[in-house]
Symmetry: C3
Subunit: 443 residues, 3 copies
C-alpha cells in the first residue's frame, strides 16, 4: 500500500477530517486488506507473524511471543500450529480439496493426518453448508484435538469413490502465541486502547477490516504526543486479550476508553455496542459522533457475547471499552464463509469506520471542563469580535454551562450541538480570556 | 374438592410449573369457589366461620376471634351480625324477596325488622338497578344502622300491592370479628404476606377467587421450610388488615413482599398494581413473571384506592405489597351483582393467577446475589461441561454480572432473560465452583 | 383603563380565578397596552419614564435612575438617548419618513444628523423588508454609534430624487438608565421575581404584553401580605437585569422562583421555557398549571438564548426563573415589525397568560409539606363528614403521601390531580385534625 496519504496534520486539532481525506484512508485500508488476505492466520503460528510483519511497514509495531503453557487466568497458551499443506486426493490423484487454493479448506488448528479413508469417514470430517453450496465455511478446532476439511457443498455430490486419500501436513508443538503491540505515550495520565483480533485466515470483514482500520488509526498517532497515551493491540481473539491483560495488570487502571474493532468494512450502517458500564466516556463520545454524522446506525447495550469486549468487560476488569462493527456478525450471510472476501469490504465502509473511531478518540482526548471567567450575565461577545452568527449560539452554550461541573461533551449533549464546534469555540473563548481550561485535578 | 393434586414437589426448585399442573390447580380452585359459594359472608358472623372451616380442609388455618369494641387505629370492631332469615311477603304470603334464594337479597349487616310497610316505604329500602334488571345488586350497611333488601329490578313492576310484610331476622350484638391465619416459618429472617378478603356473600370473582387462589398457594407451602416465611391472611376488607396489623406490629418489619389477591378468577388478562414503593421486589418479580409469560397484561402504579393494599400501603406502614387482579373491579359489569357467580370465574383464570403468584413468590424466595469466583475474563465453560447452547448465554450473563452488587433478578431484568433460566444456570455454576452464593449480610 | 376590576379577594385562597374574572383582566390588560402604545421606549430615555409613570396609576411602582457610566459586570450604562423628532424630506419638503407618524421610523438610539444626502447614501441608512412591504421594521443601534431610518419597503420605489434631507433631532448624553421596581414583602423568607422588558417602542406583543400582564399581577398583590415576597421589575432588556442584579446581589439568594414575561399577548398557545435548573419549583408549578388547564402548549428546555432568562440564568446566578411566552419570538411574522400593534394582541391571550402566571405563583406560594397525623391505615373520613365523592380521592392521595417527605405539588404530580383541588382538601383535613402543616424547617 501507499504510505503517501496525508496524515491530517494540517487540519485543526479536534476538527473532523475532510470527506476527501476519509475517502483516501478508505482506499488505503482496502489495499491493506488485500495485502493481508492470503496469509493463513490462526490462534498461533506463522500466518499471524506474516500479518504483523506486514503491519510493521505501516506502524512501528512490536511483536510479542508468549510461550506455550503460559497461564492467563483460566486459560493456557496451547501448542503452536504449523501448517504446510493439506488436501484430499481422489482416485486419479487430483486435489479435490486443496489448502493451496484456499486456506479455509483446512479446519484451523487441525492435527496432522495422512491416510486413506472411506467416503463415509471423509464426510464426517468434511464441513459444508448446503444453504450456501458455493461457499467454503470457516471452522477451527482450537481446544479439542481433531482434524478436518471445509469445502463448498457442491463437492459432496461429486464424491462417488469409495475411498479418498487425506493428508494434513501440520504440527502442533510447543511454541508461542504471537501478538502485536504499539504504544504512543501521552502527556497526561491515562490511555486509550484499540484492540482487534488477528486469528482468522483468509476472511476480510472478520477480521482484516479491524486490523487495517486499527493500523491506520495507529499511523495517525505515530510521531505524536497526544494528551492520553494510545495503545494498539493486534491479538488472537479471546486468548489474546487475556494473555495481554494477565501480563499488564498494572496498565489496566490507566485505560480511560477503548474500542474493539471487528467487522468494520462492509457496506452496512455502523453498529456500536456500549461498554459494560453503559455510559462511559467512550460510549458517549462514539454515540455523539455517530448521531451527528451518520444517517443511520444501531446502538446496542453491552451483552456478554460478541467480540473481545467480552473479555475486557468481564467483571474482574470492567474496562470502559465498546465495540464498533458495521453489520453485526451473524447478520450478514457471508460471515465465516469464503464469501467474506475483499469484495465484501468497501473503501467507503472502512473509511467511515476509521472516521468514527478517529472522531470519538478526538473527543476523548479533547474533552475537559472549562470555567467561565465572567459568569454573571452574558459577557459582551461583540466587543471581543466573537459575534459570527453561526457559532454564536455555541459560544453561549459553552459560556453558560462552563460552570466547573460540566465537560464540553456534557454541554454538547445537552445543547445538541456537535462537540467539535463547541471545541473550536472554546479555543476562541480561551484566547479572549473569557474561559479557562480546568485540569482534571481541579474539577 | 379433591386434595389429590400433585403439589409440584417433583419439579426443580424455582422452575415454572407445567401447563398441565396449572390446569389442574385451576380446576381445584374452581371447585373450591363452588364449595364456598353458598355461605353468607359479611364483615363478621358465621358465614365467615363456615368459610374458614371449609379452608381448614385444605390448609391448617388458624381461626382468630377479635371481640367487639377492640380498637384498631382509627377503627373499632363493631357488633357481630347474625342473620337467620329475611324476606318480603306479598298479600298472599308468598316470599317475593327471599334470603333463602340468595343471600344477596338482604343488605349486609342489616338491623332486624318485622313490620308491615307501605309500598313506598318498601321501595326506599329496596335496592335494584334498572340497568341490569335481572341481577340482584350487592349492598351492605356496615357503619350505619339500617335495614334493606336487594332484588332484581324487574320486581319493581310487580309491586302493585299497597302494603308488604318485611322481616329480617338478624341480630347485631357484641361478639367477634373472625379471620383466618396460616403461617409457615422460614429458614431466614423475613416473610411474604398473602392477604385476601372474606367479607362478601355469594359473589365469586369478588372475593371467592382470591380466597381459593390464596388457599391453593398456601397448600403448596404446607409441610415445607421455605427460605422466607409464608403468611396467609383471610380477613374482612379494610377492618381485617387493620385489626391484624394492630395486633402484629412487631411482625411488620419482617415483611419483604406480599400480595393482595382480589378478582383473580375471571377470563380477563392480569392486572397488577404496584406497591406504594413503586419498584419493590414484589413489583419487580411480578412484572417479570407477567412480562415473560402473559401475552397481555396491565401494570398500574399504586393509588390510594382499590383493595386492601390501601391499608397495607398507608404511610404509617408502607409495606411492599402489590395487588393482583384480572379485570379490575368496576371494569366488568357483573361486579357487585349476583351475576358474579361461579360461571363468571374460570378454571383458566384462577390457574393463571395462581401461577403468576407462585412464580413471583419463587423469585422473591430465590433472588440473591452471587459472586463470580473467576471474574477475570470468561472461564472456560466447555472444559466444565457447561456448553449447552440454549443456556450458554444465560450462564455468561450470570457470570458477567455476578460481581457482588447485583442480584439474579437484576441480571434477569438487564439481560431480558427469564429469572428461572438464570436461576437454574446459577445452580450449575455453583456446582462447578464458578459461582458462590452471597449471604444477604455479605452484600 | 378602569381600575375597578375586582381583585379576586373573595375567591378562596389558592383557588383558580373564574373565567369571567380572567376575561375582565384580559380586557384591562389590553386597555393598558393601548395606553402605553404611543410612547417611544428605548434602552434609556423619557419613553421609559412615561411608561413607568403610567404604570404608577396601577401599582405603587418605584422609578430607579442609574447614571451613565455605572458598571454592571461586563457592561456599562451608556449615554441616555433623547429623541425629539426625525424625518426624511423630499424635494417638495414633504416628510416621507416621519417619526411623528410612528416612532419605529427612527432606528433606536440613533445619533443626531441633519444633512442632505444622496439617494444612495439614504438607502444605506434606510431599513426595509421586501418580504413585508407594508410593515416598518424595528431596528436599534445600542452599542455602535450610527443613525438610520426604518420604513415600509414600498417606499423604496418612490425614492426617485437624487438627494434627500435627513434629520434626526436626538442627543446621546450622560444621563440615566431608568427602571421600575415594586416589592411586596412576604411573611416568610424568600421571594418571587417577575421581570419584563421595557425597551421596545411602539410594539405590542413584544414588549407591552409583558408589561401589562406583569402590572396586573402586581396589582393583585398590592396591599397583601403573601407568604413569599413578590418583586416586579420593569427593565430594559439585557442591561436592565444586569444592572438590577449588580445592585441587589444580597437579594438573589432569596429568589425562590420567577418569570420573565415576554410576548404573552398574541392568540397562540402558551410556550414555557424551563429555568436552567430544569425542574425547579417554578418549572413544575407552571407546567402543572398549563397541563391541567390549557388544551395545547409547548414546554421547552432552557437554552442560552431568548429573553432575559439568559441573564438571570447565567451560571454566576443560575436563578430559578423561567420564561412565559405565547408564540415564540421569531415564529410569528409580525415580530419586530409595526404589525406588532394592538390588534395583534388579544384580551384572551393576555388574560390567559395572566391566569397561568397567577396560578403558578399561587402554587409556589401554597406548596408545602403536610403530615398525616393518623398514618396507620385510612382514617374514617365518613365519620368526619369528609366523604364528598368528587374530592374523596384527592383526600386519600393527600393523606397517603403526606408522610413528611412530599409537598402537595409532589402529590399533585404523582396523582395527576390538580394542585388546587388537593390544596382545598388539605385545608379541610387540617381543619378536622387529620393533617398538620409542616414548616420548611421541619422538613
Amino acid at each position: 500500500m501507499s504510505s503517501g496519504t496525508d496524515t491530517g496534520a494540517e487540519r485543526p486539532a479536534g476538527q473532523p477530517p475532510s470527506a476527501q481525506y476519509v475517502a483516501e484512508i478508505g482506499r488505503n485500508a482496502h489495499a491493506l486488506v488485500e495485502e493481508l488476505y492470503p496469509f493463513c492466520r490462526s490462534l498461533t503460528g506463522d500466518g499471524v507473524r506474516q500479518t504483523l510483519r506486514a503491519l510493521q511497514k505501516v506502524i512501528p509495531l512490536e511483536m510479542r511471543e508468549v510461550p506455550t503453557g503460559t497461564r492467563a487466568y483460566d486459560w493456557t497458551v496451547p501448542n503452536e500450529w504449523h501448517i504446510e499443506d493439506a488436501y484430499v486426493l481422489d482416485g486419479a490423484g487430483r486435489r479435490i480439496v486443496d489448502f493451496r487454493a484456499s486456506n479455509l479448506h483446512v479446519v484451523g488448528n487441525s492435527s496432522p493426518i495422512d491416510a486413506r479413508v472411506s467416503r463415509e469417514e471423509l464426510l464426517k470430517h468434511l464441513h459444508t453448508d448446503p444453504a450456501h453450496p458455493d461457499w467454503i465455511p470457516y471452522r477451527h478446532t482450537y481446544y479439542r484435538e481433531s482434524w478436518g476439511f471445509c469445502a463448498a457443498h457442491k463437492i459432496v455430490a461429486s464424491l462417488t469413490e469409495p475411498e479418498y486419500r487425506v493428508r494434513i501436513d501440520s504440527r502442533l508443538e510447543p511454541g508461542n502465541l504471537t501478538y502485536g503491540e504499539f504504544f504512543v505515550p501521552g502527556r497526561e495520565d491515562g490511555e486509550i486502547l484499540i484492540s482487534t483480533h488477528t486469528c482468522h485466515p483468509s476472511l476480510c470483514n472478520d477480521n482484516l477490516s479491524g486490523i487495517s482500520v486499527g493500523a491506520l488509526i495507529a499511523r495517525d498517532f505515530a510521531n505524536t504526543r497526544p494528551r492520553y497515551g494510545m495503545r494498539f493491540l493486534f491479538v488472537p481473539a479471546t486468548l489474546g486479550p487475556l494473555v495481554w491483560m494477565s501480563r499488564n495488570e498494572n496498565v489496566l487502571p490507566s485505560i480511560r476508553a477503548g474500542f474493539v474493532l471487528a467487522g468494520v468494512g462492509d457496506r452496512g450502517k455502523p453498529t456500536y455496542t456500549r461498554s459494560r458500564r453503559g455510559n462511559s466516556l467512550i460510549d458517549r463520545a462514539t454515540i455523539h459522533v455517530i448521531q451527528h454524522t451518520n444517517a443511520a446506525s444501531t446502538i446496542r447495550d453491552f451483552a456478554p457475547n460478541g467480540y473481545d469486549q467480552r473479555q475486557y468487560c468481564s467483571p474482574g476488569f470492567d474496562l470502559p471499552i465498546g465495540c464498533l462493527m458495521r453489520t453485526p456478525n451473524g447478520d450478514y450471510p457471508e460471515y465465516h464463509f469464503s464469501a467474506d472476501n475483499p469484495r465484501l469490504v468497501a473503501p467507503e465502509g472502512l473509511g467511515d469506520s476509521w472516521r468514527i473511531v478517529r472522531q470519538a478518540i478526538d473527543i476523548v482526548q479533547d474533552d475537559r471542563r472549562y470555567l467561565n471567567l465572567l459568569p454573571k450575565g452574558e459577557p459582551r461577545l461583540g466587543a471581543r469580535g466573537l459575534f459570527a452568527d453561526a457559532e454564536r449560539l455555541g459560544l453561549l452554550w459553552t459560556l453558560n454551562f462552563s460552570d466547573g461541573t460540566r465537560t464540553l461533551l456534557d454541554i454538547a449533549e445537552r445543547s445538541g450541538m456537535p462537540f467539535w464546534l463547541l471545541h473550536e469555540g472554546a479555543r476562541r473563548l480561551v484566547e479572549t480570556g473569557l474561559l479557562r481550561e480546568l485540569n482534571e485535578e481541579a474539577a
